[in-house]
């Protein structure tokens, strides 16, 4: 079954949480099962909306960190899912 936007966001954020909150983009790509272009779009949106932060290490490699808003989304996902599904808001 095709995943909707909410589920894809959950998968991306969850892939970061599983790795104690900070990961490289390749890890998200592997775990979220998205094309590179789709991932770039989703990550850009999640940064813009404050769910994740983009950092750079000393070698210039980008990593991604879950914010408080991102953790809240994951914790409330079942409630969000229930509400959105009941009214067909996806």
């Amino acid at each position: 079954m095709k995943r909707d936007r909410l589920e894809i966001i959950f998968d991306i954020l969850n892939s970061i949480r599983e790795k104690t909150g900070i990961v490289l983009q390749t890890h998200i790509l592997y775990k979220s099962n998205l094309s590179h272009q789709m991932l770039v779009e989703y990550v850009g949106e999640l940064i813009e909306k404050g769910f994740i932060l983009e950092n750079e290490d000393k070698k210039g490699k980008k990593n991604y960190e879950l914010t408080k808003k991102g953790y809240n989304y994951l914790n409330d996902y079942q409630v969000i899912r229930g509400f959105v599904d009941s009214y067909g808001l996806n």
């Binding site: 599904d85 009941s86 009214y87 808001l89």
Partner: protein, 220 residues
């Protein structure tokens, strides 16, 4: 033509309480939708919250003006404003209710068509409001537009139930079906006093179903 004169005498007061209850339930759903929007930034959830805010306001206003009509406060306010009759309250309550409810249902119907062209929403609101207020039979046309919007909504909620067969989706599909029946009943009924009572009872069941869905969503 007004709603207050449609109400049977024995139902005065009960209608005020029921409308207040509908307003509170709609407000709860609206606040919850905005909280979900804050977490997800989903445009549809925002529209849903806005629509239920308008629906809630429409019931609060209807309840408030109906309360003024049936309560003793009415005499004091009439005297203070030098109004000879309660007709002004009745008309004001009715018009505010029609405007807010029409906007609420139009936003909700727009949400279901999943269009990103906001001009469609403005057109839906403008057409329905002009249609109502330029008509000789405003209340009738109001129920006609509400019925059209509710048919669109019911279509959406039944499709949603068929795609996602859960108790929650079923409750919402039935709730909007009952609201639709209430509207259709008015359009075809001869005894409008009976409609007023039946309409309120159907809405009560509908809002209780929405409340039950709310409980199911919050129950993890």
């Amino acid at each position: 033509m007004s709603l207050a004169y449609l109400s049977p005498l024995w139902f005065f007061g009960y209608d005020v309480a029921l409308e207040f209850l509908f307003a509170v339930v709609a407000l709860m759903v609206s606040i919850f939708a905005f909280r979900i929007y804050k977490k997800t930034n989903q445009g549809q959830v925002k529209l849903f919250g806005i629509s239920f805010s308008f629906i809630s306001m429409s019931y609060f206003i209807q309840s408030f003006f109906n309360f003024l009509i049936v309560s003793e406060v009415n005499a004091h306010v009439c005297s203070a404003l030098k109004i000879q009759s309660i007709q002004m309250f009745d008309a004001a309550g009715l018009y505010f209710h029609m405007i807010l409810m029409t906007i609420g249902l139009a936003v909700l119907a727009y949400m279901t068509i999943k269009s990103e062209k906001i001009r469609i929403l403005w057109m839906m609101i403008a057409l329905s409001l002009f249609g109502i207020f330029l008509s000789a039979s405003r209340l009738y046309v109001f129920f006609l537009f509400s019925t059209i919007f509710l048919i669109l909504l019911e279509w959406h909620f039944i499709t949603n139930y068929l795609q996602n067969k859960q108790k929650k989706t079923l409750f919402i599909a039935i709730a909007f079906l009952l609201m639709l029946f209430g509207n259709i009943h008015f359009l075809v009924s001869v005894n409008h006093q009976l409609f007023y009572v039946i309409g309120h009872v159907l809405e009560l069941i509908a809002y209780l179903l929405i409340l039950s869905n709310f409980y199911l969503v919050l129950k993890k």
